[in-house]
């Protein structure tokens, strides 16, 4: 029971990261079919190259651009570095999520201990209306934008 609670807790940050990913899900197909043509220099040319479609997929998931061939090369190096792991025999080894896996994790009782800090929290946001954070229109996906607006880095 407690072990399960621990598992859940340690998965949470990852799931959040993949939350970003799942949002991007519907666009994946469009991405992959429409890619690879307008940036051929990123295309797979050797075993180490990451295909252009994957680069753009990653950019969408991460909401961060590579911006340059050097950055892509850095990813390729990082992957090659990570590939050394495959030399390790891990047959029958369980993945380790936390060094505290054999201990109980304690959950706080579900009582309100603090709060009433709405104003303080809102103060750190650049754009609020009443008690709301304000986001720009949410129904336009990033790929639609790519060709319509200048790249933020170009400014």
């Amino acid at each position: 029971m407690w072990a399960r609670a621990l598992r859940v807790r340690f998965r949470t940050p990852l799931d959040r990261g993949r939350g970003f990913a799942s949002k991007a899900g519907p666009q994946e197909k469009v991405q992959e079919t429409g890619q690879g043509t307008h940036s051929p220099r990123l295309a797979l040319q050797g075993a180490d190259r990451v295909p252009a479609a994957k680069i753009e997929h990653l950019e969408r998931l991460a909401l961060v651009n590579f911006g340059s061939r050097e950055a892509v090369a850095r990813l390729e190096k990082a992957i090659a570095f990570a590939d050394q792991l495959h030399a390790v025999d891990t047959d029958g080894v369980e993945p380790l999520e936390s060094v505290l896996e054999d201990r109980c994790l304690y959950l706080r009782s579900d009582n309100v201990a603090e709060g009433n800090c709405t104003e303080e929290l809102l103060r750190n946001s650049h754009h609020v209306v009443e008690e709301y954070f304000v986001a720009p229109p949410g129904n336009i996906s990033l790929p639609d934008m790519v060709n319509k607006t200048p790249s933020p880095t170009a400014e």
């Binding site: 940050p13 792991l85 390790v88 936390s98 060094v99 304690y106 706080r108 750190n124 934008m145 933020p152």
Partner: protein, 523 residues
């Protein structure tokens, strides 16, 4: 007064030889004099003076809060500080003012410590040099020491050959090494406290994972991050750890075991110790000077009757690779929170939510952070998750097992180098990219984070160039007290010399009543 250790100055405060306000002002003036080190991002002068005033009142009424009351401390700028800007040395968080204190910060303040400021780091603590933050690199105070200047080649004039501090907590290390405070908090995910401690001639301590709260420490790798402690001697570290350790309801990964008051005995029976020397740490890249000091240290333990044995941690060579995958993956997920909506930088691009997110993150993060986010996302892709992320978690278990096996074979403490070499000049350091550098510099330190063990870097000697060299002691999980006891004994034997900062000594601020500098060294 400033050259004293925390314990000594605490005694001076209690005896009324100095008041908290005097001490605070001396430190503030030294912070200004050493501004060129770039150790601090924010100097919280007003806050510190106000805290000093309150502390002074307590001393006058004989109601001091303890050893830390009135003691100037500094905190790495990735710990949240209520009402004080917390930037992580990133454009993403410039101007961000947390509404709460990190638990460790709160604990220091509750003991009456004076917060002098927030110290510089690599952006989001990603780096091993303290060179990759938006506020510029931190300079190692040893660059300006008499010891280094005297031995430096004559053709190297001017300031262009200043040395890096190591990182990522280089600002905290420089702050303590330059006597601007008596202790500082760093964070340690892969060696970020121990590495700069070794390069700056300090004691740098990484507690067991789960002993000290991470609440309010802006996370890098949740499963490895711990707050770290910098001081000028082991006793001081023990004092600070005594204050910080313990369960925090706001961090469910802190263990609830009752924490006994931390007592580091003055004497210890070394003959009952078993010191392990991991043979895999003998790598060709290790400088011959460090290698020789390492074996001298082993001999020292042996000559005092300790059992010194070679041990094997066979998966050591994969450790840095495993760390790389786990670190970037957790970074990718942790950094997802920075979207410009609730706090931090927000791009002016307003055409759509996603465009705003992407532009914000492009403008807010540096190349290193973006690179790690992208690598991490690659390792977390559906088709790669098993092959990289889960694979790395499996290798992590093997690395942890290596340590368990070593300790089960009877070893009490492992003795290793902390770094491959002494601090290098900035111009040399930046020739390699951040990832390569981190892979080299974290080589002896990150495995400890994967296993959650306590470890401490103890300064042992000066190199031929007059620069500090540290060795690392690694203890069993939650045997932090035993580890510090051994570290204290070791520190006493090696008699590491105090840094001689000529510029600072000219005005007498480091000279004591008897005209002599005192510190950890008795020489």
């Amino acid at each position: 007064m400033l050259g004293r250790t925390l314990r000594e100055v605490s005694a001076a405060l209690k005896q009324g030889q100095v008041t908290p306000t005097e001490l605070c002002k001396k430190c503030l003036s030294l912070i200004k004099k050493t501004k060129y080190l770039n150790a601090y991002i924010t100097v919280s002068e007003e806050v510190a003076l106000k805290q000093a005033e309150e502390s002074e009142k307590r001393y006058q009424q004989g109601q001091s809060l303890g050893d830390l009351d009135g003691i100037p401390v500094a905190v790495k700028d990735n710990f949240s500080t209520s009402g004080i800007e917390t930037t992580c040395a990133s454009n993403m968080l410039k101007g961000y003012i947390p509404p709460y204190n990190a638990t460790v910060v709160q604990k220091l303040l509750d003991q009456g410590a004076l917060l002098m400021g927030k110290t510089n780091l690599d952006e989001f603590a990603m780096g091993s040099g303290s060179t990759d933050g938006v506020f510029g690199p931190v300079k190692n105070p040893w660059s300006y020491s008499k010891q280094y200047r005297e031995r430096r080649r004559h053709d190297e004039h001017g300031d262009s050959h200043w040395l890096i501090t190591g990182g990522s907590s280089g600002g905290s290390a420089a702050a303590v090494a330059a006597f601007t405070c008596f202790a500082a908090l760093g964070s340690d995910t892969g060696g970020s406290t121990r590495n700069p401690a070794a390069h700056c001639g300090l004691v740098g301590f990484k507690p067991s994972y789960g002993l000290v709260s991470r609440h309010g420490l802006i996370p890098l790798v949740n499963s490895m991050d711990v707050p770290g402690i910098f001081t000028r001697c082991v006793d001081d570290t023990a004092i600070v750890l005594g204050v910080l350790a313990g369960h925090d309801p706001k961090d469910s990964t802190t263990v609830q075991d009752p924490i006994k008051p931390l007592m580091i005995p003055g004497e210890m029976d070394v003959s009952r110790l078993c010191i392990g020397i991991p043979k895999e740490y003998m790598v060709p890249e290790l400088s011959s000077e460090i290698q020789s000091l390492w074996s001298q240290a082993a001999d020292l333990f042996a000559s005092e009757g300790a059992k010194v044995i070679e041990v094997s941690l066979p998966h050591t060579c994969y450790s840095i690779v495993c760390y790389h995958v786990l670190c970037t993956s957790e970074v990718a997920s942790n950094m997802a929170r920075f979207d410009g909506l609730q706090y931090g930088h927000r791009s002016g691009i307003d055409v759509s939510t996603e465009a705003m997110y992407a532009a914000t993150r492009q403008e807010g993060f540096n190349d290193v952070v973006r690179g790690r986010i992208l690598s991490g996302n690659f390792f977390l892709l559906k088709e790669n998750y098993e092959n990289y992320f889960i694979k790395a978690q499996k290798v992590r278990r093997l690395i942890v097992r290596d340590f368990v096996n070593a300790f089960e074979s009877g070893v009490d403490v492992l003795l290793t180098p902390t770094t491959l070499s002494e601090a290098v000049p900035y111009l040399e350091f930046i020739k390699e990219d951040n990832r390569t550098r981190s892979a080299q510099d974290d080589i002896f330190t990150q495995a400890v984070n994967m296993a959650g063990l306590p470890a401490v870097s103890v300064p042992v000697a000066l190199s031929n160039q007059g620069l500090p060299i540290g060795l690392q002691l690694i203890g069993r999980a939650f045997c932090d007290q035993q580890l510090l006891t051994v570290a204290k004994w070791f520190e006493k034997q090696v008699q590491f010399p105090i840094i001689q900062l000529q510029d600072l000594m000219d005005d007498g601020s480091l000279v004591l009543e008897n005209g002599k500098l005192t510190s950890v060294s008795l020489t």
